[in-house]
Symmetry: C2
Subunit: 343 residues, 2 copies
């Protein structure tokens, strides 16, 4: 197996990436293709005494950064002769020289580059950004978290198919429970999009448990939850912001007196569980579903340990033949939709 | 001033309501009209030695409960001869016998009852459910959190006017900063609704600071944030669920060993700040904006202390002539919209 790692992804790149490439090559025995400025990466590897045949450097002198947006980003993602690490790395997946691409960089950049260079799975209407949300006793697959601010019911249906297959094949959840995010659990609740999506999911072969609200989502009552990308993005960012507000407020109070400081020191192991819940390393990376190739996006805050987790996720998807499984499921869906009298 | 308190609102009603009515009458020197089953309320008041001329019981033998939904709820809210405490209480506001109605009961019930019995402010297209979100260093007015799952740009514009006036008149924030919740801060970000609402807010006389995300909202960077009711409801419920997940997980871990238990005991004052942030009493109650009368809705978990806070909020709105201010602002908006060449 050959995994491409974007050396210019994480907030502190390329050091975490160089370290992660070495660790992953060692741990998994795979080839890691590290994409970025060749000279710099060679120096970094040598400094770590890490010149191993298992980590191959692929030169890409440029980067897509967090500042790249709009047309500038589209051009960087699209140009045939693009020399940024995402374009070069994703081209390796396209040519079959590698099995999956992993980055902790600009999410919109990875989406655009994957979309333009690999295209969509045939029959699929929209790609979806996926996230693994920390919930009670585990994680829940949530999509779309931002690729499509405007969605149709058929898009959400296809997200549901892809998310369910990902949960089944890669997270190894039998018959994953699927929820539709809405402003009420009852079947009639929701905006127009939800009301029209509900019957599609109900008529499908997916394990649809109905509408879910925040309580069910964070309570871990569904394995996969679908929504449009506008709602998903607000859900993701607000959840992060609430968690940050609570933790910051608690930290500030704990440090405000000697007594609470001592208490905090004694209680430290308990705070670990919160840190772990919000740690990028626990999630590793989530796939960009619908793109005709495996692209995994990790958190910008990823360190080497988190990047190794990200590579581990990508490996599982390759081993589980995730892409084939989604391709087949979309073919099935289209074939069924074409049958007369079926709905 | 005369405030109506729904005696059949909170999860533990009517005891917190009876206590709150007495406390509020004492604290504010106002008449409190306590609406519910007269015999029961009289007994409860007497048991508290609380027979004061300041607390007047108004008989309403029935209640709108959390189980009331759909058509059943609409009928209870609408019927002229309705005998439930919300209908009877809101009729007192309609007839001018009272200045404001306060309940900690079914939000949808208060919305429907207010809407059917008081109607909308002339020229206003949709009422909005409002919440005060705990944010860094204070609270932010958020609307709509669920009255309108489907909104048009003009609705969000009117929500922005109403929310800004509420922040200014009742929360006494000069020139409140207004944000539009979106999936990105840049002006071009958002779904169709956001893209069309942005220029309306920008051209208005409101202090529009642009699109905001979860980070800005919970960071306290806006005083008022508007959104459609579907998104707002998901934002509200997910935020509550994330907070609950974090607190439950932390509590569980703190109780898991002797050492962390001791730490938790010492650090207890620090946890108070979190409890306070999420405490209904800190917020009291938020208004139903757009209804042609003052209706305040508190959290179902409200105790007597929280209900007194709710009554305090309602009093401030009466004193600030909130309803008149919104009526005038909507008139102004319509007059401006009618001017040729203006937009």
């Amino acid at each position: 197996m050959r995994i491409v790692l974007d050396a210019l992804g994480s907030d502190n790149c390329p050091d975490p990436e160089v370290q992660a490439a070495l660790q992953a090559a060692h741990e998994f025995g795979d080839d890691i293709l590290l994409v970025g400025p060749a000279d710099l990466l060679r120096d970094k590897l040598e400094a770590l005494n890490g010149t191993t045949a298992k980590v191959q450097i692929v030169n890409a002198p440029e980067a897509i950064t967090m500042e790249d947006k709009g047309i500038k980003l589209a051009l960087k993602a699209k140009r045939r002769e693009a020399k940024n690490s995402m374009a070069v790395g994703i081209d390796l997946v396209k040519s079959g020289e590698a099995d999956a691409f992993v980055t902790a960089g600009n999410t919109g950049g990875a989406l655009a580059t994957g979309y333009y260079r690999l295209g969509l799975i045939p029959g699929l209407e929209r790609p979806a950004l996926t996230a693994l949300f920390p919930v009670k006793d585990g994680h829940t697959v949530v999509l779309d978290i931002g690729a499509n601010p405007e969605c149709k019911p058929e898009h959400l249906y296809q997200f549901a198919i892809m998310g369910s297959i990902y949960a089944q094949k890669v997270l190894q959840i039998d018959d994953p429970r699927l929820g539709l995010l809405s402003n009420g659990e009852e079947a009639g609740k929701g905006n127009q999009l939800i009301k029209e999506t509900f019957p599609l999911l109900e008529a499908s072969e997916l394990n649809f448990i109905g509408n879910v609200e925040g309580k069910e989502l964070f309570g871990g009552e569904a394995d996969v939850v679908v929504m449009d990308g506008f709602t998903g993005n607000i859900l993701l960012k607000s959840s992060e912001a609430v968690a940050k507000l609570l933790i910051d407020s608690l930290r500030e109070e704990l440090m405000s007196s000697f007594r609470t400081k001592v208490g905090a020191a004694l209680a430290k192991p308990a705070f670990g569980v919160i840190r772990k819940m919000l740690d990028p390393a626990e999630v590793g990376a989530a796939p960009l579903l619908g793109i005709n190739g495996l692209v995994f996006i990790g958190h910008g805050r990823s360190d080497a340990y988190a990047l190794v987790s990200a590579i581990r996720n990508a490996r599982k998807a390759v081993e589980a033949k995730l892409l084939n499984a989604i391709q087949e499921a979309i073919e099935d869906q289209l074939a069924q939709a074409a049958l007369p009298g079926e709905s």
